[in-house]
Amino acid sequence: MSEHPHAIVSYRTFIVVWALLLVLTAVTVAVSRVHLGALNIWAALGIASLKSALVIFFFMHLKYERLLFKLFLLLALLTLALFIGMTFLDVLYR
């Protein structure tokens, strides 16, 4: 049984995404300049996550892949989150 590769993504979509990424970069820089204390780091991470989502779903075509791929990505990220989170069980309460 042969494969039917996913639809071709239009050049325009990519360029729009790229523009968005640049904008978001500008935003992070801007946000990092205003002092929000602990919030700064979370804001930075939030925006970074947004950017990576754009890259993953469009540049890397994940949006067009079958569900399985998305589940696996979730699994990998969850694992990393747990590794970091559970390490803090020690670091936070030591």
């Binding site: 699994l75 694992t79 747990l82 559970m86 390490t87 069980l89 020690d90 936070l92 030591r94």
Partner: protein, 544 residues
């Protein structure tokens, strides 16, 4: 089931055909999963023998208090190298890379894995890494003396050849990762028509769970080792208290991989046992889904308990609480497996051929190892037995008594399939008996020593520990004798055993529908599967 006997019995199947080049080259450059599996078999077994020999020497040193045969420094190198070889070169690659490679594709009715070239490449990585590790013994500041755990700050200071050994292990990590990637992809993409998830053999299920652990945990080991090397070369100071680093963070990073690694070791072993028991009880395995999901459960929960190696390291008590709790959770899926195995025997027709003996003794030995694991998992008792001979006893029970015995069981189970001949069953049974006696004498005495307070990694000990150490050493000789007998018997079988025929045990999984040894291209035409791997009711009555 529609399966034709490719290649008449007696023909030497993939052992003869296959391989683009003649002779040895035809092997070390073959991308046939079966040949690669055999390449792994020979490599892994040789390293096992080396590691085992080191184990024997360790025991000799411990036969009496004081310096008996080796100096303290040599002893430290001995258990370090013994540990590194046994963990990274024997037990982790062992079952997946050997039996997984040979039988996973066959079990799902495929002709090879998804990435055959990658598969060969990972064997090469394994060999290169092995050579680097061996080289580290004879070059630089001499063999590493850190213990297989490479704890900083010691590992960052010692003058021995740690960086090279660590680099070797680092490469092994990638070999292991590639195997994992290959298996996950293969199971998802190459299942023959009719091989639903509910028709996967439980061996494949266990390998699938293992593969995920290999993929998600091994990179942590890789980066940890890189950091250790850089700590030595650049003095980056990430773990050095003097420059603000935290030695305990190294332990976190190390165990984030190395605990899940113990389930990389045991899951495939459980898979083999789950294959053997129904065949020799002539019964469908009891609770297929429970066993399948418990494999996933162990892999998942097992990835979150690494802290139980650090209860007395200075880690926060909150972390002790959570990690201890999760550690006990892992015991549950293991318990489920044990109960299902036993239940499978009920009302069966049981024959005690060598593979079955190994499988049943696996259950017993793994239970001892696992139950002692509970004593280690409980915060209070771990404080007492941590880093004592009790831990050494625990992990030899699970690793040698568990994985080791399952490995030998698999060897005796698939031996006729792989080389088309049968070994001498009576001798095999005797060898098993000797090993079973030896292993218990060897390691049970260690556990008592641990409870009485003898620390591990001690080349010398107080007189009060002498008696049990002597007994333990004697046990190691018995075990060695048994192993030697087993290997000799298998070698003789391979050379001039009687032809085994395609299905000597009466198994229903796909490999038994092929000739022994299987032809180079497994299935002449991809099979269409109508029933599950353990359907002894529908399945054709097993033939002798």
């Amino acid at each position: 089931m529609t399966q034709q006997m490719t290649a008449t019995a007696g023909s030497r199947g993939f052992l003869a055909e296959g391989g683009k080049y003649p002779g040895l080259l035809g092997w070390i450059f073959s991308t046939d999963h079966k040949r690669i599996g055999l390449l792994y078999l020979f490599a892994v077994l040789s390293f096992f023998l080396v590691g085992a020999a080191l184990g024997i020497i360790i025991r000799l040193e411990l036969i009496a208090p004081g310096e008996t045969i080796v100096s303290a420094q040599t002893y430290n190198a001995l258990f370090t190298v013994h540990g590194v070889i046994m963990i990274f070169l024997f037990i982790i690659p062992g079952i997946p890379a050997i039996f997984g490679n040979i039988f996973l594709p066959i079990h799902i009715g495929a002709n090879d894995v998804s990435f055959p070239r990658l598969n060969l490449f990972s064997w090469w990585l394994y060999m290169i890494a092995a050579l680097i590790i061996l080289a580290s013994l004879f070059t630089g500041g001499g063999p590493p003396d850190t213990g297989w755990t490479f704890y900083v700050p010691f590992s960052a200071e010692t003058t021995t050849n740690v960086p090279m050994a660590v680099f070797g292990v680092f490469i092994l990590g990638f070999s292991s990762i590639l195997t994992g990637i290959n298996f996950v992809t293969t199971v998802h993409r190459l299942r023959a028509p009719g091989v639903r998830w509910g028709r996967l053999t439980l061996f494949v299920w266990s390998l699938y769970a293992t593969a995920w652990v290999q993929i998600l945990a091994t990179p942590m080991l890789a980066i940890t080792l890189v950091l250790l090397i850089l700590e030595r070369l650049l003095g980056a100071g990430l773990f050095d208290p003097a420059s603000g680093g935290d030695p305990i963070m190294f332990q976190h990073l190390f165990w984030i991989y190395s605990h899940p690694a113990v389930y990389i070791m045991i899951l495939p072993a459980m898979g083999i046992v789950t294959e053997i028991i129904p065949v020799f009880a002539r019964k469908p395995v009891f609770g297929y889904w429970a066993i399948a999901f418990s494999s996933i459960g162990i892999a998942a929960a097992g990835s979150l308990v690494w802290g139980h190696h650090m209860f007395v390291s200075g880690m926060s008590d909150t972390a002790v609480l959570i990690f201890s709790l999760l550690t006990f959770i892992v015991a549950i899926p293991s318990a489920i497996k044990v109960f299902n195995w036993v239940a499978t025997l009920y009302k069966g027709s049981i024959s005690l051929d060598p593979p079955m003996l190994f499988a049943l003794s696996f259950i017993f030995l793994f239970c001892i190892g696992g139950l002692t694991g509970l004593i280690l998992g409980a915060a209070a008792t771990d404080v007492h037995v941590h880093d004592t001979a009790f831990v050494v006893g625990h992990f030899h029970y699970v690793m040698f008594g568990g994985t080791g015995f399952a490995f030998f069981g698999g060897l005796h189970y698939w031996f006729p399939k792989i080389c088309g001949r049968m070994y001498n069953k009576r001798v095999a049974t005797v060898a098993w008996g000797i090993m079973f006696a030896g292993i218990n004498i060897l390691y049970f005495s260690m556990m008592i020593l641990g409870l009485r307070g003898m620390p591990r990694r001690y080349y010398d000990y107080l007189p009060e520990y002498a008696d049990l150490n002597l007994i333990s050493t004697i046990g190691s000789w018995i075990l060695a004798a048994g192993l030697l007998l087993m290997f000799v018997n298998l070698l003789r079988g391979a050379r001039n055993g009687r032809p085994a025929g395609p299905n000597p045990w009466g198994g229903l999984t796909l490999e038994w529908t092929l000739a022994s040894p299987p032809p180079a291209e497994n299935f002449a035409s991809i099979p269409v599967i109508e029933h599950g791997p353990y359907d002894y009711e529908q399945g054709g009555t097993p033939h002798e």
